[in-house]
C-alpha cells in the first residue's frame, strides 16, 4: 500500500503532462508518416500499377499504419474500416472486388467518388487482394483492374491526409483541452488520459486475441487463412510493429521509468524469433503453434505489467473499447 501510494504521489505531476506528449510525440508524427507513406504508394501506383512494382510501397504504407492503428479515437474511428477492413469473416473483400470488376463499375475511375464504396473494396485489404491474391493479381497495365488499384491507392492516400488533418486541425486540441469548458468530449484531463490508456490496453488485447487468436483457432482446428494479411506475408510483422508502437505509447504515456513494462515488451519480442513461418501458414504444426501461443501469453503479460506500472499509479483504468462486442 505504501509503495502504491508513494508512486501515485510521485507521478501525480507528470500525469497531466503525458497527454500532450502522446499527442505531439506519438500520435501526430505517426499520422504524418502514414500520410506520407500512402501518398508514396499512390504515386507509385500511378506510375506502374502492376503488383511487382508496388510490393515495397504497399508494405511501407502498411508499416506506417501500424504506427497509429491502435489510436481508435476521434477521426480515426470514422475511417478505420475503410483503411483496414479486417477481420473479414464473410469474405466481403473478394466478393465486392469481383463484383466491381465483373460490372466494370465506373467508380474505379472516380477517386473522389470512391469514398462512397464499400469499405471491403477500400484500403489495405482490397489492395492486398488485388496485389497478392492469384484470383485478382494477373492484370495488365491499362486494364480495369489496373485503374482500380490506382484508385484504391489514391483513395487511401486521401483518407490518410484527411486523418492527419482531422487530428491536427481538431482532435488533437480536443485531447489537449480536456477539461476546458468548451470541450464536449473530455470533461476532465483524466478522461483524456483514460481514453489514451484504453487504446493501449485495447491494442494489446487486439494483438493477442485477434491477430494471434484468429489463426490459432482451437488446437483441433487451427485457422491459418484467418491470419491478418497472410497473402502479403505480414501476420507476424503486423504484430511486431504494433507492439513496437504500443511500447512507444506506453513509455510516452507513463512519462517516467517503466522497467517492468519494458521488460515485458522485450520478453514478447524475444519469442517472436522462435516462430519459423512469419505468415502463420504452418500453425497446424504443434511446435509452431506453441511458439505462437507463447507470444500470445507474453502479450497478455504486457497487459498485466502496464496495468501495475502505469494504470495503477496514474489512477486510470481502461474504459470500453470497440472490440467489446462479439
Amino acid at each position: 500500500m505504501i509503495r502504491t501510494l508513494a508512486l501515485a504521489l510521485t507521478l501525480a505531476g507528470p500525469v497531466a503532462a503525458a497527454v500532450p506528449e502522446v499527442v505531439n510525440e506519438h500520435a501526430m508524427p505517426g499520422f504524418q508518416a502514414f500520410s506520407r507513406a500512402t501518398s508514396a504508394l499512390a504515386d507509385a501506383a500511378a506510375a506502374d500499377c502492376t503488383p511487382a512494382a508496388l510490393d515495397d510501397s504497399y508494405n511501407a504504407a502498411f508499416d506506417a499504419w501500424l504506427g497509429v492503428a491502435h489510436l481508435q479515437l476521434g477521426p480515426t474511428e470514422a475511417v478505420t474500416h475503410s483503411i483496414a477492413f479486417w477481420p473479414d469473416k464473410r469474405g466481403f473483400v473478394g466478393k465486392t472486388l469481383a463484383g466491381m470488376i465483373a460490372d466494370q463499375d465506373p467508380v474505379a475511375d472516380d477517386v473522389g467518388g470512391y469514398a462512397e464504396v464499400s469499405a471491403a473494396a477500400r484500403g489495405f485489404f482490397a489492395l492486398e487482394a488485388m496485389l497478392f491474391d492469384p484470383a485478382f493479381d494477373g492484370y495488365e497495365t491499362g486494364s480495369y483492374s489496373c485503374r482500380l488499384v490506382q484508385t484504391i491507392a489514391a483513395d487511401l492516400a486521401r483518407t490518410a491526409t484527411r486523418l492527419e488533418t482531422g487530428w491536427a486541425g481538431g482532435f488533437a486540441d480536443t485531447l489537449l483541452s480536456a477539461g476546458a469548458d468548451n470541450n464536449p468530449v473530455y470533461l476532465s484531463k483524466d478522461e483524456a488520459l483514460r481514453a489514451l490508456y484504453t487504446q493501449l490496453m485495447a491494442g494489446l488485447e487486439f494483438n493477442a486475441e485477434t491477430r494471434l487468436g484468429r489463426p490459432l483457432g482451437t488446437f483441433e482446428r487451427p485457422r491459418p487463412t484467418r491470419a491478418e494479411a497472410w497473402r502479403s506475408g505480414r501476420p507476424l510483422r503486423n504484430v511486431e510493429l504494433s507492439l513496437k508502437a504500443l511500447h512507444g505509447l506506453a513509455r510516452t504515456l507513463a512519462n517516467g521509468p517503466t522497467p517492468e513494462t519494458d521488460a515485458a515488451f522485450a520478453a514478447a519480442a524475444d519469442v517472436t524469433a522462435n516462430i519459423e513461418d512469419p505468415t502463420f501458414q504452418t500453425i497446424e504444426d504443434p511446435q509452431e503453434r506453441l511458439h505462437v501461443e507463447i507470444l500470445q501469453q507474453r502479450i497478455q503479460a504486457i497487459r498485466a505489467a502496464v496495468s501495475d506500472e502505469i494504470g495503477d499509479p496514474l489512477g486510470v483504468a481502461a474504459g470500453f473499447n470497440s472490440g467489446d462486442g462479439d
Binding site: M1, E77, A120, E205, G325
Partner: protein, 420 residues
C-alpha cells in the same frame, strides 16, 4: 493494491453510510427483476410463435405463414431488450449464441439463390442445405439427419465445423425459414418465401417441404427450451441473480459493462457502423424480415431500461425499482443528468430510424452506396451510442468502481475478469 482498494472502500463508507438512500443490493434486485421479466416475456412470445408455427406446418396457408411472421416480430420486442444483460453476465453471454447468432450462412439450412455461391474459405459448409440432404459428412463424420430434431440442430449443426456463421438455431435461423433470402439488395422488400414451401404433396415448392416443416418445428422448440433455461437463471435462486448478489460492487460493474459493451463495440460498431461502411444489406441484423430498425431500437431501449430501472412488459405492466440512475445521482448528479439525457437522445435517433423504416424508407435502403439521408440517420444513432458510452464510463468512475480494475483484475475491457 489491496490497500488502495481498502482506502476507496473506506472513503465510500464515510459518505455512504448516512448519504446513500439507495442500496446497491436494491439496485441489483431491480436489475434482476427486469431481466427475469424480459426473459419471461421472451419465453411467452416464443411459445406464441411455436403455436403459430404448429398451425403453419399442420395446415399450411398464406395466412398461417403471415401469422407466424407476425408472431416472430412480436417475439423480438422483449428479447432485444434483454441484450443489455449479455455482456457483463457470463451466464448470458455464454448462452446467447444459441438463440441470437448472426450473421449466418443460411445455405447451411435450406435452398438459396444461385448468386449466394457455395462453400467459402471460411466455411466449407456454407451451402450444405440440410433440409435437402438427409445424410452428409461433416468434419469427417457421417451425419444421419433423416430425423430433424432439436438435438440434431443443437449438437451437430449449430456452429458446425467450429464456424460461427453456421447458425442452425435461434431467432435468425427461424427468421430465414419464415421469410427466405432477401433478394432485393438495397431496394425495398424483404424475403419472399412462399407459403407453399410448407405445403404438402404436389403443392410443395422448392422440395422437401416436410423436412422444412420439421426443421422449423424443431428450431422453434429449441428456442423455447433455451429461453426456459435463461428465465430460470434469473428466478429467486437462479445462478445469474445469485452471482450478482454475491458481490455487489461486481454486480453494479456488470450492469454498467453490459450497457457500455452493447452500446459501443456491439451496436454502434459491429451492427450499425460496419453495415454502413460495407453498404451491404446482408449486414442488417434482421436481414430476411427487414426488421432491423426494430432490433436496433429495442437494443437501445434495453440499455435505457437498465439505467432507469424500469421495463414495460408485453402486457403493458411495468417492472421498476431503485435504479442505477438513483445510485449515480447520489454520487454525482451531473453525471446522472448527462447520461439520462444522452440515453434519451440516442432513443430519439433510433426512433427516427424506426419511423423512417416503418414509413417505407427501409433499413437496407439506408445502407445503399451514396444514400446520404440514410447514412445521416444511422450515423446519428451511432454517434449517440458512442457519446453515451463515455458517460457510462463516467458513471463507473463516479461510483468509484473503476477501482475494481486496480484490485488485480483486467478492468472494464475484460468483463469476465471481475467474476474470475
Amino acid at each position: 493494491m489491496t490497500g488502495r482498494f481498502a482506502l476507496f472502500l473506506a472513503t465510500t463508507a464515510l459518505t455512504a453510510a448516512p448519504a446513500f438512500a439507495v442500496e446497491k443490493a436494491e439496485v441489483i434486485d431491480t436489475y434482476a427483476d427486469i431481466a427475469l421479466a424480459g426473459y419471461e416475456d421472451s419465453l411467452s412470445t416464443a411459445r406464441a410463435l411455436q403455436a403459430a408455427v404448429r398451425t403453419l406446418v399442420d395446415t399450411p396457408s398464406a395466412e398461417a405463414l403471415e401469422a407466424a411472421r407476425i408472431a416472430w416480430k412480436a417475439a423480438r420486442v422483449p428479447y432485444q431488450q434483454t441484450e443489455a444483460f449479455r455482456f457483463g453476465n457470463p451466464i448470458v453471454d455464454d448462452w446467447e449464441g444459441k438463440v441470437n447468432s448472426w450473421p449466418l450462412d443460411e445455405g447451411l439450412i435450406d435452398y438459396v439463390d444461385p448468386g449466394y455461391g457455395g462453400a467459402t474459405d471460411e466455411n466449407g459448409y456454407a451451402a450444405l442445405n440440410v433440409i435437402a440432404t438427409p445424410k452428409f459428412t461433416l468434419s469427417g463424420e457421417e451425419v444421419d439427419a433423416t430425423e430433424i430434431t432439436p438435438e440434431l440442430i443443437e449438437s451437430t449443426l449449430h456452429e458446425a465445423d467450429e464456424v460461427e456463421a453456421n447458425v442452425a438455431s435461434g431467432y435468425h435461423a427461424i427468421e430465414f425459414l419464415l421469410w427466405g433470402q432477401d433478394l432485393h439488395g438495397t431496394e425495398a422488400g424483404a424475403g419472399e418465401r412462399p407459403w407453399t414451401d410448407y405445403a404438402t404433396g404436389d403443392d410443395c415448392t422448392h422440395g422437401n417441404c416436410d423436412r422444412r416443416g420439421a426443421y422449423l418445428t424443431a428450431a422453434t422448440q429449441l428456442l423455447v427450451s433455451d429461453l426456459e433455461y435463461m428465465a430460470a437463471q434469473w428466478a429467486e435462486d437462479g445462478a445469474a441473480r445469485t452471482t450478482l448478489e454475491s458481490d455487489e460492487d461486481a454486480g453494479i460493474v456488470a450492469m454498467l459493462t453490459g450497457m457500455g459493451s452493447l452500446s459501443y463495440g456491439e451496436q454502434a460498431g459491429e451492427r450499425m457502423k460496419l453495415g454502413l461502411m460495407l453498404n451491404d444489406p446482408e449486414e442488417e441484423h434482421d436481414c430476411f424480415s427487414d426488421n432491423t430498425h426494430m432490433s436496433h431500437y429495442y437494443d437501445g431501449k434495453g440499455v435505457q431500461n437498465v439505467y432507469l430501472g424500469t421495463y414495460t412488459r408485453v402486457d403493458g405492466s411495468t417492472v421498476s425499482g431503485p435504479s442505477l440512475s438513483d445510485l449515480v445521482a447520489e454520487a454525482d448528479p451531473a453525471v446522472d443528468t448527462r447520461l439520462t439525457g444522452e440515453l434519451e437522445s440516442t432513443m430519439a435517433a433510433l426512433g427516427a430510424i424506426r419511423d423512417a423504416a416503418e414509413g417505407g424508407f427501409h433499413y437496407d435502403m439506408m445502407l445503399a452506396r451514396g444514400n446520404a439521408e440514410g447514412e445521416a440517420l444511422i450515423q446519428a444513432a451511432v454517434d449517440g451510442l458512442i457519446t453515451q458510452t463515455r458517460s457510462i464510463e463516467r458513471a463507473v468512475a463516479a461510483l468509484g468502481l473503476d477501482q475494481i480494475g486496480f484490485a488485480g483484475s483486467d478492468s472494464l475491457d475484460n468483463p469476465d475478469a471481475v467474476f474470475q
